[in-house]
Symmetry: C2
Subunit: 401 residues, 2 copies
């Protein structure tokens, strides 16, 4: 049969994540990939987790291996609620659900809220997993430019004036993916004002917020919200392990209730063993000390990558200067298409994410690219940036400063 | 803000799974629940899995804890493909994806294929997780009666003649949930003929197929399909552990490709640690011997439950006679509504699933109920069926035979 003729309108034209596609490159051991968004694998507390997993299964295997509650393993859910309460990320009207990674939180919230044709404003550039999720519900996506201190608020308000179908704004306000940019406190407050005025919901995706290695913490948008219009997405992927697929959402209890119903039909509940392992880890060990270790390492790698870029990249290629998170974002002169440059880089065994994939219109030529520094060691960063810098000099005919 | 006014049409009227709701009853240690669909927790190979988890994390933690491939952990995917190939459940045009439990397979296939208003034929009664999943995509659901040897084929053909919007038929052909009924070989062949004639896709959900404790195996519909119109859903939940959230789908490669894209935005990939644990279990141990042990236990429990029903239930309440799986299905005289009877039973600390929740129109009065025998031990089965039998005698004024 011709099964293609049966595909739903939602998915028939969707393309897979270009970032996921780069995973295949990693099969080649010679490649230095700055394309992923993975945490440093050598910093996983694997010996500790091995002991914990054994203990959990031996002593509590009948719980870990059995069906669980859709809302999440209660001790972990309580721990998450307590932790995010301290920073104002839960209000009295809120509830918390444990999800199979932060991505699932976005998906469940999108499914609960979006009809085909509903509008979602996304930062430009934005996270491809967010963009593709909204696309998969046939939402209309509007891009709004990210400046050095976050979204351009005038342009956002203009969009909201022009398009009454907009229901949701999606932001990674802290150490944004892909730009590494953090939205200022002033803009966070302004964003809430605008959201109130136009009655839209804010999705605040914050998987990187705890990974600050420079500067001062800024309150989350969620903690400033008095109207209950922020759905807050957190994750264990960057502070413990992505392979365990654990995230959480804090939002208005009525929205969480819809998300629970959607999760029942999507994967019933989050992996119980993973939830118990994570809970046991945060109980036996000091998670903040572990996060501090990650921040120190990522701070060093980010600095090294920027130093190497300043040394080897041509002057005409600029980069952002993140204070945390996993990414920095480079901009070439407008005439270049970084998809073409990616093909040339891969021939030299270097990979990155071309900026086009982070844009609402991902077919358009784009001269930016995303670089990840968390998943490569110092030797790889030095060697990789040197090779890439030489290639970029050759292409642009420019020299380092 | 009034967030309820923002809910999507897909989910605003959805109700949570009544079966999941009964989980809350289990918090009461005095209750005997025949309501769930859980495997016997005392048969989980927890000591073996504890050793395996420790070894996997210690020796291969950098893989187990890191991001993985959306299609699945390759050694497990290959193992699944080999295993289901032997029974004809993979064809040359097919591909296999590992999913976060069988339910996710159904969800991803539904999302890939269903536009709002597309028709899905479901068995009546059927699995609430399937029904709710199709509802969540605003599909139009048509019920077709299940007879003692499976779907009534005349009524199915009638439905297909009358409704040109039907795209998918969803069946649990073997040890059906909730009825325990198995579709005959003759009807499986007839179903494929009808599907060819009306060009529909068959979802064959087979989580219980390996749990046969009586009678002879019948080929899956998938193994009889020469047109590539069967998507086949399998699961580790009933043969190893539901808490690990592992299932798989074998279907036309083009459909699997769409499902991979949907999975990328839904949960990125299936829990890597779980996949590695499962793979290591099937490599180190004899999974068929383990399944045999489960079958022996479930066969005993099913027989005991039926014997007790025959002894304590009033003559006017009949039950199916399953050859495998986890459920048997009871029918009371038409005038009773088993939702009301469930409320009375819960007061006596007994729970089951009222039949209404397994029907397309779940608001209608329904005189059937589903009983699970895998999750209760022999003492609980004897005691619970006696209490329930006495209640049913009291309600109906009838006596046991």
């Amino acid at each position: 049969m011709n099964i293609k003729s049966k595909f739903s309108d939602k998915v028939k034209d969707m393309e897979g994540s270009a970032i996921r596609a780069t995973f295949k490159l990693l099969a080649n051991p010679d490649i230095i990939s700055f394309a992923g968004g993975a945490p440093a694998k050598e910093l996983f507390p694997k010996a500790e987790l091995a002991e914990i997993a054994k203990d959990v299964l031996k002593e509590n295997g009948e719980v870990a291996l059995q069906y669980g509650i859709t809302e999440g393993y209660e001790p972990l859910r309580k721990w998450v609620t307590d932790r995010i309460s301290k920073t104002g990320n839960v209000t009295d009207n809120d509830n918390v659900i444990i999800v199979s990674g932060g991505q699932q939180g976005i998906d469940l919230a999108a499914k609960s809220l979006l009809n085909p044709g509903d509008g979602v404003v996304c930062e430009e550039p934005s996270f491809i997993g967010g963009l593709n999720c909204f696309r998969s519900y046939n939402a209309e996506i509007y891009g709004v430019e990210v400046e050095n201190d976050g979204i351009n608020m005038d342009k956002l308000e203009q969009l909201l004036k022009e398009h009454s179908n907009i229901k949701v704004l999606y932001t990674i306000a802290t150490f944004q993916n892909p730009s590494g940019i953090t939205m200022s406190l002033e803009k966070r407050k302004k964003l809430l004002e605008i959201a109130d005025k136009y009655d839209i919901i804010i999705f605040e995706d914050n998987p990187y917020g705890e990974l600050r290695f420079a500067g001062e913490d800024i309150p989350t948008i969620k903690s400033l919200d008095t109207e209950g219009r922020v759905a807050y997405f957190g994750s264990f992927s960057k502070i413990l392990s992505p392979g365990l697929r654990l995230g959480f959402v804090s939002a208005d209890a009525d929205l969480i209730e819809r998300m629970v119903i959607c999760k029942q039909v999507q994967d019933v509940h989050t992996n119980v063993l993973s939830q118990m392992i994570a809970y046991e880890f945060v109980t036996r060990y000091d998670i903040d000390a572990h996060i501090k270790k990650l921040c120190e390492s990522y701070g060093k790698r980010a600095k090294l990558m920027m130093d190497c870029m300043d040394k080897y990249f041509p002057k005409c290629v600029t980069h952002t200067n993140p204070e945390g998170g996993l990414f920095l974002f480079c901009t070439m002169p407008e005439q270049y298409d970084t998809r073409e440059i990616m093909d040339m880089a891969v021939k030299k065994n270097i990979a990155f994410v071309p900026g086009a994939t982070t844009m609402v219109d991902d077919k358009k030529k784009c001269s930016t690219f995303r670089m990840n520094y968390s998943a490569s060691n110092e030797e790889q960063i030095e060697r990789g940036i040197k090779i890439l810098g030489e290639l970029l000099c050759e292409i642009t005919g420019d020299t380092p400063r």
